[in-house]
Point group: C2
Chain length 269, copies 2
Amino acid sequence: MYGLLRSAGRFFKPAHAYVLTERQSMTYELYYWPTIQGRGEFVRLALEAAGAPYTDVARGDEAVGQGVAAMMEFMEGSVAGVACPPFAPPFLVDGKVIVAQTAAILLYLGPRLGLVSKNKTRRLWTHQLQLTIADMVAEVHDTHHPIAGSLYYADQKPEAARRARDFRQNRLPKYLDWFENVLARNPKGRTNLVGKRLSYADLSLFQLVDGLLYAFPKSTRRALEKAPLVAALHDRVAQHKRIARYLASERRLAFNEDGIFRNYPELDA
Amino acid sequence: MYGLLRSAGRFFKPAHAYVLTERQSMTYELYYWPTIQGRGEFVRLALEAAGAPYTDVARGDEAVGQGVAAMMEFMEGSVAGVACPPFAPPFLVDGKVIVAQTAAILLYLGPRLGLVSKNKTRRLWTHQLQLTIADMVAEVHDTHHPIAGSLYYADQKPEAARRARDFRQNRLPKYLDWFENVLARNPKGRTNLVGKRLSYADLSLFQLVDGLLYAFPKSTRRALEKAPLVAALHDRVAQHKRIARYLASERRLAFNEDGIFRNYPELDA
């Protein structure tokens, strides 16, 4: 779809300018690295849970104007008419709107996908939860890259061992305890983080726990024993009809050691 | 004001429950560590630029129900009626609303303080800028604490030296180049990050640059030579009437080596 529009645009004006100013498609375009779940996965889960039509552009074919090259065009700011080049993926394109930063993408998508309350205070609370999830995700990344994202893990293994130890002993239980507390205090029940319906924050907490179970199986299982509501939420989301179908599909990339959640046994205990 | 209400409340119902459900004061309450600028400063600058009435609660007197103890009550979730205990300061209390996470606080305050556009897409873009500033702030913190926030700097000096080198050589120029690009591409002119009026993102970029100049004076000055629009924005915000008055006041805490921006000469070059 996107590719077709771009091709059509090529004949009379710069492709992206056409896309950005006149396109009225209902298909969201997600841009993220094509071989990892990473931060893009939090957006994918929201789109999948809602059954929303989307193109995972960088996983598409360069021959039809997709692939990583299309993503880099945005990143490098070479797309005509883009006043706001993203600092990093993931970013979402929805007609004229381009939005980067995972939490901001979900803030934007939440109401459109029916994945957040209509109440303003609850929306803000949902966003606050998402930002706290984002903080923990950044800390997970730094367990294997405590010195620099530009270096390999092999170049920072002793530092990673130290950072991962602190993460397992202090940060992991502290975050999970906080989410447990949030579930326990939800005045509408202990099933969801906010209110009594599924929100994008529930989906993201599922993904966070799923990633932690992959990266730090021993310490995460131990921590989850003290956070049974978080564990139950994780299991419940995995059984959500559309999510279960997605997780079993080829669209769900497997965790791997290029992503944020990496299984390096020496970092777990 | 806050202290008085709490005292009055004590006679007939739990103090905070009263505050949270019936208080109609127009005074915002900011809760943050009392001896550092830290993340609280991004909120203070917005409140100050707007001339909004606020209480910096943890810097107040415990005798009137303020001070760090009042902040800890919220953090520990022991405040009656609080379904959403903050994970960490800063947080803002505005009547019934409690919001944590610096970027979420500014998302909430922006429209109320006239520090963001009325246009929804521009509001989202402003928020995205704020989230990118938050990412850089976290990276600055980790230059002196690459292993663990729970350890002293003295316990992680070799790791800090490595991480700071990567920060100076790669991250600092990359972020400043991006903000420079954002200013250069603003269709409404190169004075502000978004549109042609001061937004909370401008104030936060000022604070970020101010902190970088304190922490990494040599490398920041060098990087700013290639980001003249960012440097000009920093200088312009410092001269904003209310901000200039604030910066000269006792309310502005000095940078110090307990905060996020720390001047450790061995980490600069």
